[in-house]
Subunit: 346 residues, 2 copies
């Protein structure tokens, strides 16, 4: 009894194929958990082994590029894009191309050699989310960027080359395809009925309930109706907002505690899987950007892309999102108890 | 000196980031090569361990589901889609969904336990490509399908769960997103200038030459201008044709020998990498399907998708396609010599 579901935002079809009656342990993949003992350039004391500090949250009086920090932002050692990049020779005038001007930063999330946000105190992870917010804010003001993406890769299978907990920020001079697609469907929906499509999805998920994992006053986390992957989650603000960096600052702790709790539950269900998360924020300068409803996508990397996915842009998901949400809800609270319904102290 | 390139067909941006001066050996990933010794349901003699035969090329007089075949087509043991699938209970009327009606076949390419098409004789691989052509033809005529995708996964990292050389065919009741995108750009271009966009790309690549890997009378293989992955290749017919199964039958051997040679060269450059290939054929019934120019995408799986790719739909490719094409051209001919320029005997 497979079912084809269409994601309303991106338009892609997903085959929910639950014939095999998969359970979470069927998706366990080896990889994370053991801490390597080699040299780590991200650990406190090794500040001279990274590119210079762009920003940091540090002890008053401590100097940049020395110990004494809690979160540290540096340029990626191998940046995909750089603002100073000279224009390359024209590649081929038949096609469209641009110099690779942009930014590529690394956010080092802890001075200690931790490998998961769930090993951090809620207060420390809050500083990480606050740093996301500040970097997006800063880069949004920078001339020449069209989009700012903040993302995290955990585990080798999810593309992480460094184990020490970190995130990345890429500033792009072009509007990425995925964002353009989401903006297009939000825009056409808004023109039709006067509301953002994502707002309707959020309201519907809250009312329907079967795919909701957790909610608090300001945010909801759910497994999307047309989830591509087992245990995929979406975290969205309940109130419309087009850019993450426009979120009122006092809501950052609420978001941080929710994200940390969701990762903790995912780590229980799938035994510390490799995963990615990314903040889908609105574009920097598109005239219709107000339609965009920012959100976070949390993607466990426990199935593999194959020829079918490359050829169609469709996905085969062996776990119905309603069942995944149930598994995630059934994990006992790990980090948070009443914090979900009351505002934490900043 | 990174460069942003836009793929004219899909519209996606790719960062060609060659800062690290990568060479082919930087992309070697472990995995393939050693033959497992366990039981294989695809080997000759084990016909009763697969679902029943849908089609086969076999010795005259041999019975279905017994030895004596050279290529064998069966239903996938765990089909993602089935024509007999009953309609599931309405999932959620807020969203769009459909019963998972479709087809999911496996093409077993050899009675022997081979793990790569390069281990087959050219005559045997020709039968495989002929089977692709016949299955697409058959399924295109089947009521209720909108698209037929033929694809191959080689190696665990590319999503293969069985080692024995095989391909898959999925018949979908909906038009997949990727095909819709390619059709849309071909259509708008055709309306503008009177020609298929892909025909212009093929002509341009042949004239420009730096990205061409191999060509014969009827086909050209090149590394696309905005290749997403190191050593990604596209194989296209020189003459416009919207569906693979409409290719004149006598050209099948030319295509087979070219594909086999390209895989052989890829296996030299990247030491038997995991890979996918897929036949992007035109849709079954779209009124504008004649605009579509069928082609094969050959995708080595030597880099990993991470948060950036999920969030943007852009890719970071550390190997310029011009260099990859050069490496592939420089491999001495492995399978073919003059066959590229003269028609092989059927």
């Amino acid at each position: 009894m497979a079912e084809l579901r269409r994601d309303p935002i991106s338009g892609r079809w997903v085959v929910i194929a639950t014939e095999r009656g998969a359970r979470p342990r069927d998706f366990h993949v080896p990889g994370r958990g053991k801490r390597s003992s080699g040299f780590c350039p991200f650990c406190e004391g090794n500040e001279d082994r990274t590119p210079p500090e762009i920003a940091a949250i540090r002890r008053p009086g401590s100097a940049p590029n020395t110990p004494g920090w809690r979160v540290r932002v540096v340029e990626n050692k191998y940046p995909a894009l750089q603002m100073t990049d000279p224009a390359p020779a024209p590649a081929d005038p038949f096609y469209e191309s641009l110099p690779g001007r942009g930014t590529h930063e690394v956010i080092i999330e802890s001075p200690r050699h931790l490998i998961s946000p769930t090993e951090m105190s809620p207060a420390d992870f809050r500083l990480v989310v606050q740093t996301y917010w500040e970097r997006e804010r800063k880069l949004t003001e920078q001339e020449g960027l069209s989009y700012v993406l903040i993302f995290k890769n955990v585990g080798e299978a999810a593309g992480a080359s460094v184990e020490h907990t970190h995130s990345q920020v890429i500033g792009l001079p072009v509007m990425p395809k995925r964002v353009e697609e989401e903006l297009r469907s939000s825009r056409s929906f808004e023109k039709g009925g006067g509301r953002c499509l994502f707002c309707d999805v959020v309201d519907h998920e809250l009312a329907e309930g079967s795919r909701v994992v957790l909610e608090c006053d300001h945010f909801v986390a759910f497994c999307p109706f047309a989830a591509r992957f087992p245990f995929e989650m979406c975290i969205a603000p309940k109130a419309h907002g087009s850019r993450f960096c426009e979120l009122p600052r006092e809501r950052i702790p609420h978001l941080a505690v929710l994200v940390q709790e969701l990762i903790a539950r995912l780590e229980v269900c799938l035994e510390k899987p490799p995963y990615n998360y990314l903040i889908h924020t609105g574009p920097v300068s598109d005239p219709d950007r107000a339609c965009f409803h920012w959100h976070i996508e949390l993607i466990p990397r426990v199935t593999r892309l194959a020829g079918f996915e490359w050829g169609t842009g469709c996905y085969i998901n062996p776990m119905a999102p309603e069942r995944a949400a149930q598994y995630l809800r059934d994990v006992p609270d790990l980090q948070v108890a009443d914090i979900m319904t009351s505002a934490p102290v900043l």
